[in-house]
């Protein structure tokens, strides 16, 4: 799995490509927790457009980051989730907990407008 992290204004954009299973979830968790630790109350956007597979380990790592960031006063969103993972995001409840957007631009706007102006990375 490829993990690309970039800063888009006040949002940390995390682009995932490939298969998100238990093996790759561990790598993602380590990498993200390092990034998030230095900016705990910001916003994180997961672009899942490149995923070809996701199981409950992927759900767990996304929910885990959501809980951490949410507890610290930050915000999380998901965008471009492909059809191949829609069943798992629905059955697991992930799509009801984290806001999902089709387009990256809409998700960014949601996160940026929702952020108090003083809360910046």
């Amino acid at each position: 799995m490829k993990i690309e992290i970039e800063q888009r204004q006040a949002v940390l954009l995390v682009r995932l490509t490939g298969e998100l299973d238990h093996h790759h979830a561990e790598q993602l968790r380590e990498k993200l927790d390092r990034e998030i630790a230095s900016r705990p109350s910001g916003a994180v956007l997961f672009n899942l457009g490149g995923l070809t597979f996701m199981d409950s380990s992927g759900v767990g790592v996304l929910l885990g980051r959501y809980r951490k960031i949410d507890a610290a006063g930050g915000r999380v969103a998901v965008c471009e989730a492909p059809a191949v993972i829609s069943r798992i995001t629905e059955i697991s409840g992930l799509a009801r907990i984290i806001p999902f957007f089709d387009r990256e631009a809409d998700a960014l706007q949601h996160l940026l407008l929702g952020l108090p102006s003083k809360r910046r990375f």
Binding site: H22, A25, F53, D55, G60, V84, R87, I88, S92
Partner: protein, 149 residues
Amino acid sequence: MGSSRTFMKLEIESLSENEAFARVVVAAFAARLDPTLEEISDIKTAVSEAVTNAIIHAYEDKVGLICIRSYLDGNLLTVEVEDWGIGIDDLEKAREPLYTSKPELDRSGMGFTIMENFMDEFSVRSAPGKGTVVTMVKEIRSKSKVKEN
């Protein structure tokens, strides 16, 4: 082709890098029944859940063996995933949605629920201290048939 029966067996070590390997092998085996993309994705997900459970829960920090057996019979795919790990004390509780014995590891307790939903039949047998076998069956409504109807 529809009435033929065939079988395969795969034995792997409980290492996380084997998860992708196991689900791809079962999906390739099931491909003989000409499944749709959705069916392939369901099978891969269910196999991944069962194998991941064996790695995380059955063997915890040790490395053990996981045996994956798969059968094709007519348009039915059967997959069995067996481990010889710690076993499950309370099966009813383990199968409840959202129940996990490892919340600290970012587990959400959805694995069994996903296997149940993504496959047509699902059962678990387990003996504490001995191991666990998960059996799943899926009816493949082959692509060519879907087109004909």
